[in-house]
Symmetry: C2
Subunit: 466 residues, 2 copies
């Protein structure tokens, strides 16, 4: 046993600390393809224990990686240099609910959907809804600034975080809030993927459950015409709560698994949700249906009841999982383009996939211009793995060329750190590195994430203005 | 003529550069009480000229202060150490309008209201509306993260900035965007009051002009009961576009000047605005009127037509100016409390003003819990000046004790820098100082603003984690 693990055990006890390889295996990976065993993991019960573990890791020179549910697609929770993993599995409580001021204070390990379930009887909900929301945690969502289908109307996680408690690299506990005057440190912590501080409490904004919600489904001949309809809807000044597109491949896989009632023979399906008063959603639906028809919709229908709405959403949010029926492996890309370029980028993605002889499915937050091309392959075939990597990068480059960017909501993590150089100059990256150095000069918090590897020291070079 | 001014003149010419005291006088002050002549001012036409001036200032060791319309109440645009003032009076154009994607690119000197006027025919508007919007600039609004009456529903400036172009302390031009992956540098620049970079372009989010807008006015016996009504409205899950309160003193001054139709004999007036579809606003008004009556409203009426709406808003936004009719000087405080503490804090403010024998008027963004007590005094009476300063600080302390903070929307600037220590620990301030050092290690950009004076070097000490 190392000095590091024995100090952790001494300070926090065997109930909190894990050091055996068979116990550590579950902390070695997330939903990305890399994994590595940490030297130790802790499952603390409060911020004091988090702070203690961080202070010991610092004294022993060990890196620190916080971990929510491990559903991240970009390797953000992988302890790529070993060290300490902090699991928030036990810090999963709703601490305070203030319905009158529409706020709640939660621990970072609370599962996203469980928060909304716990407060539903009060007529309020937590808006950001990544497709992983049945299992991913609020803390993980904060780390990646997670999006979701309803972020079209409500914004991403950063728009719903009012304040944070976090532990710094010295093991000191701080609290920051949107209400603070001065620089917006809450904002820079959200989406920083564990590189600036380890979050131990989150103050979230709550929203009022709308009087009426209507979920509609339209069939189109192809993804391009569905995309045109989406652009026209937003251009007309309507912002539905969600505007999602699935292409034929995804729709068929989803229907085979969920039988939710999507039109199986369409070239593309548009899922639109409206929320507001009863009159609102009725008027909104009429307008959306007209725009969809004007852009070639082959059919339009609204879900009849709550059960059908739930089924349509469950199927949409389970789309990636449903692909398991038709392929041994898949790779989900996450990228953005300006909404008006959607038809064009869909055409390009199709061509890229064809060039690499890879089947591609498209399921995406169309209203946000946030693409999720899903490349299907077999990991056992080396040629296919190489093709996926090449095609994924080409898709990113295509999106950038259209004025888009390399990530919409999954974060950068380990997967996309080298791609960051596609959108930022060395000076830009150095400026970000300098911001990091304010919080974590030793780069001990989630090393190897976000930043491309430098020429010498494995991360970005010295501050550009030093 | 100094080396500094002659280098500026040589590089940018006499059309851009001002060096004579009589020309510099207009750049010496803003709406705060301090003033100082700069060594030089430039009125550049583009980012290249801004960058050139900043590079020369750096080489000559002169501080740099950017200036919009000079309407700031906290001294943020005062060149407290002389140096260079950069006026954006000429960089005031709407550069690009993309209605379909609801974005516009503007220069920082564009006046807030002129943007909305310029794009009104397209059915879109720019939401943040500080009361100064007829004269204050988008760039200044970005610097202070300006709020306004409609920020209750739409959020403050930071929620409407999609990207920025800025010049760093070296005179290099950068562009950052909310669409960037990695740390949110756009967010940290908004509200940084010119201490991190000099903004040369702003990409703003546009919103769709609602189908219907209804402005309603209710009279109450006192500010406490009006505040209770506001808290009940939000607690019921309704978020009107604005919920403003004026007390009796303010209402009478405003009516004497504007004759807008506010009830002059009420103890307090609530101005509520609803926007949405025609059905929406009708239903919303019925609900608001019922809640107001339940909380003691003496009257409730809706404006009959657009002219009356405009008059009510013009009067509300001109409230501070109207005080000129009844007092030689006034001091507007800006502070926040949780909305549910409004009745209590109004009571406390009243007691503080009475203790100091100062008349106080209250006009505030009640829906946001953002107070603007307006202390009336005569600058020629030393006792009154001292009393205003003492009462202002007591009001801030009272707000902090109730879980509030020292600024809602006016910024910190020169005025409140010492008060920052009331809400932040030395460690907190050092962390902010470190963030600043990333962008401006020499503290040449707007020195003496935001940060309290340190024990030795006039600003915060060395980085706490260095």
């Amino acid at each position: 046993m190392s000095a590091f693990t024995s100090r952790l055990l001494e300070a926090l006890g065997p109930d909190v600390v894990r050091t055996e390889p068979e116990d550590l295996a579950v902390f070695a990976f997330d939903a990305y393809s890399e994994d590595r065993l940490p030297a130790a993991a802790v499952i603390p019960r409060n911020a004091r224990e988090v702070a203690r573990a961080i202070a010991i890791a610092r004294e022993c020179g060990e890196p620190v990686v916080p971990r929510g549910a491990g559903t991240g697609l970009c390797g953000g929770a992988v302890p790529s240099r070993g060290g300490l993993v902090i699991s928030f599995a036990r810090m999963n409580r709703l601490l305070e609910l203030d319905v009158r001021n529409r706020r709640a204070r939660v621990q970072p390990g609370l599962i996203n959907l469980e928060l909304s379930h716990a407060i539903a009887s009060q007529g309020v909900f937590y808006a950001p809804d990544p497709s992983s929301q049945k299992i991913s945690t609020i803390g993980g969502n904060v780390g990646t600034n997670a999006g979701g289908a309803h972020c079209l109307r409500y914004g991403t996680t950063t728009n719903h975080v009012l304040g944070l408690e976090y532990v710094d690299t010295h093991g000191a506990v701080h609290r920051v809030s949107l209400d603070d005057p001065g620089y917006d440190l809450t904002g820079v912590l959200v989406g920083s993927e564990g590189t600036l501080g380890v979050i131990t409490e989150v103050d979230v904004r709550l929203m009022t459950v709308p009087e009426a919600v209507r979920v509609c489904v339209a069939a189109f001949a192809d993804v391009e015409s569905a995309s045109e309809a989406v652009s026209a809807i937003i251009g007309a000044g309507i912002v539905p709560t969600a505007l999602e597109i699935m292409d034929a491949l995804i729709t068929r896989a989803v229907e085979a698994h969920y039988h939710a009632g999507y039109p199986e023979n369409a070239g593309a399906v548009l899922l639109a949700e409206l929320a507001g008063t009863h009159d609102d959603v009725a008027a909104g639906e009429a307008l959306l249906a007209r725009i969809a028809k004007d852009h070639g919709a082959l059919s339009w229908r609204a879900a009849r009841d709550q059960a059908e709405c739930d089924a349509l959403w469950a199927a949409r949010k389970g789309a990636a999982g449903a692909i398991g029926r038709i392929a041994p492996n898949y790779y989900i890309q996450d990228a953005c383009v300006p909404r008006t370029r959607l038809p064009e980028v869909m055409h390009e993605i199709d061509a890229i996939a064809r060039d690499h002889q890879l089947p591609v499915g498209n399921v995406f937050h169309a209203g946000d211009g946030n693409l999720h091309p899903l490349l299907i392959f077999d990991r056992r075939e080396r040629r296919q793995v190489d093709a996926v990597v090449a095609a994924g990068t080409e898709i990113l480059r295509t999106c950038i060329a259209m004025g888009g960017t390399i990530s919409g909501e999954h974060g950068i993590g380990y997967e996309k750190k080298e791609s960051l150089s596609l959108v930022f100059s060395p000076d830009d990256l150095a400026a970000m590195g300098n911001v990091r150095a304010v919080f974590d000069p030793a780069r001990a918090f989630n090393p190897d994430k976000i930043f491309p590897a430098g020429a010498r020291c494995g991360e970005v070079g010295p501050p550009v203005h030093a």
